[in-house]
Amino acid sequence: SQQGEEDPQALSIQEGENATMNCSYKTSINNLQWYRQNSGRGLVHLILIRSNEREKHSGRLRVTLDTSKKSSSLLITASRAADTASYFCATESGNTGKLIFGQGTTLQVKP
């Protein structure tokens, strides 16, 4: 069964606006990660937040984690056309050594 579910499935904004994507999951986690995928390419790791952390920043990215609600959000501030891509959350649970990915949010940033 799918662990992470992103919302919305698709998002279209103008350059300069902020983009917010949400991820919900079902079981307790060790960490939650966000990845980016440009069309037809491999995934690139953006940021990892551990279960004992509530917020993390990396450049124009801000990730929050609410373990009580089993949800996370990714905020991209001052978006650029180059941010156009699909964004996936992934969770790691237990001692499985594996990540479970959501279905992704497709972000389009219009110049």
């Binding site: 037809g40 491999g42 995934l43 790791h45 996936f88 790691e92 001692n95 050594g97 594996k98």
Partner: protein
């Protein structure tokens, strides 16, 4: 620095033909290795993962198999391809974390497989 290679980049194969996709990692030792499949417009489905040479865990029943003949080599195979095997195949590695956990995964460029 670490790098991950996948080949071929694209592949068109007839139904019933065999398959061999290769993934190699450089610059690290004893990595966890992963094979994922991605259908068009969808998320990633974990197919196999390996925490060491000869150790393969299968996530979904299918006509695919995986092998890890060397520490940094991961191979995805099939004896007879099905139409449903078409997709984008991604290999990834991560450092093995004590206790069998994983942190960041690093992905290869992927192989686009079309079965006709």
């Amino acid at each position: 620095s670490q790098t991950i290679h996948q080949w071929p980049a694209t592949l068109v194969q007839p139904v019933g033909s065999p398959l061999s996709l290769e993934c190699t990692v450089e610059g690290t030792s004893n990595p966890n290795l992963y094979w994922y499949r991605q259908a068009a417009g969808r998320g990633l489905q974990l197919l196999f993962y390996s925490v060491g040479i000869g150790q393969i865990s299968s996530e979904v029943p299918q006509n695919l198999s995986a092998s890890r003949p060397q520490d940094r080599q991961f191979i995805l195979s099939s004896k007879k391809l099905l139409l449903s095997d078409s997709g984008f195949y991604l290999c990834a590695w991560s450092d093995g974390v004590a206790g069998g956990r994983t942190d960041t995964q690093y992905f290869g460029p992927g192989t686009r497989l079309t079965v006709l």
